[in-house]
């Protein structure tokens, strides 16, 4: 198989990746909705080939405080996956999960500092829904996908996103990502971002018979 340069990715491939993102995120969103017993909406996924310096802007702003779950993907598909949301959104999510046990009002929630228990809850949510995303991807493509233990980071968006960017930066000057936004009526607001490495893109596309 010839090595695929990123500039050669055509619109057809983008559409396939978009559809993958759709299926993965659809599963993840369903898992999330079931967990918190709420309706959660998701956007049509975007597949973007981005310059590194545009990366922070995709989630709002580089210095926006966000809660990120980061995991590495190994097996037939390698790369990384991020489930990233605004801090207030994460606080609402934990509050819903723990049945209001944070004991803070709507106003206080934005400045809430997460304790150990709450961090653990966020990680577990991240684990379950990224698992749902990757499971869908794996059954669709027949490829083996093993996620690593999720890592939690609460920091500026740019700082969190630089971690997968550095990994992608090892072999490319741009970053290709599949991004899906999810939200509910009021509180939730976040993204699933899948960043497979270039070889994995080829494998994914081949397994689906488009290459």
């Amino acid at each position: 198989m010839k090595n695929l340069g990123m500039e050669e990715l055509t619109n057809q491939y983008y559409d396939v990746l978009k559809e993958l993102g759709n299926i993965g995120a659809g599963n993840a969103t369903t898992a999330l909705a079931q967990m918190i017993d709420c309706k959660v909406d998701m956007s049509v996924p975007q597949v973007q080939l981005l310059d590194f310096n545009k990366l922070g802007e995709i989630v709002g702003g580089e210095d926006e405080i966000m809660v990120g779950i980061y995991l590495q993907v190994e097996g037939d598909v390698e790369g990384s996956m991020m489930f990233i949301q605004k801090k207030a959104s994460a606080a609402h999510l934990v509050n819903k999960l723990m049945c209001g046990m944070l004991g803070v009002t709507e106003e206080e929630i934005v400045n809430h500092e997460f304790g150990e228990m709450e961090c653990s809850a966020i990680k577990e949510v991240g684990n379950i829904i990224t698992g749902a995303y990757l499971n869908a991807l794996s059954s669709l493509t027949g490829l083996k996908i093993y996620p690593s233990v999720p890592q939690l980071g609460i920091d500026m968006a740019g700082a969190l996103l630089s971690v997968p960017a550095v990994e992608f930066g090892l072999f490319a000057d741009k970053i290709l990502l599949v991004q899906t936004k999810f939200s509910d009526d009021i509180d939730l607001d976040g993204y699933f971002i899948l960043i497979p490495d270039m070889e994995s893109y080829e494998k994914i596309l081949t397994s689906l018979g488009v290459m």
């Binding site: 590495q72 939690l152 920091d155 500026m156 740019g158 550095v166």
Partner: protein, 161 residues
Amino acid sequence: MSEVIKVGMADLAVCSGDDAVTTLGLGSCIGIAIRDPGTGIGGLVHIMLPSSTEIRNNSNRPKFADTGIEDLVDAIIKKGGNRSRLEAKIAGGAQMFASSSKSDTIRVGERNAKASKEKLSEMHIPLLAEDTGKTYGRTVIFYPKTGDYVIRSIGQPEKVI
């Protein structure tokens, strides 16, 4: 009216006068600030990886510590800075996530800091101050006129080095 110029990932910018250069949300990347105190001309490069020689695809020079510093120095001299007076400050190189199976890429912050310092000393540019490592992201603003390098992090007091 002074201006603050934004520097993205794998990018650099030079300024003078009352202007400043900033980069938002440095994670494992490093913001290398260099200036000529005589003319007040200086700049910032936001590097992502330690070395251009370890990687095949290395055309994007500001992405690496070694080529990024070279380019920043060139840009400062081109704007009128004096090579022999240059001095540097660095910030960043955090470890954003605790641990991982691919330990090498995760410790990239540490390696970035080391490579930056080595390159600076190789080019005989004194390193006046640094704020590297730890586990939190940094937003930095560099004022070449005064040499102040302002560092903001979440849950930490603002620092000037």
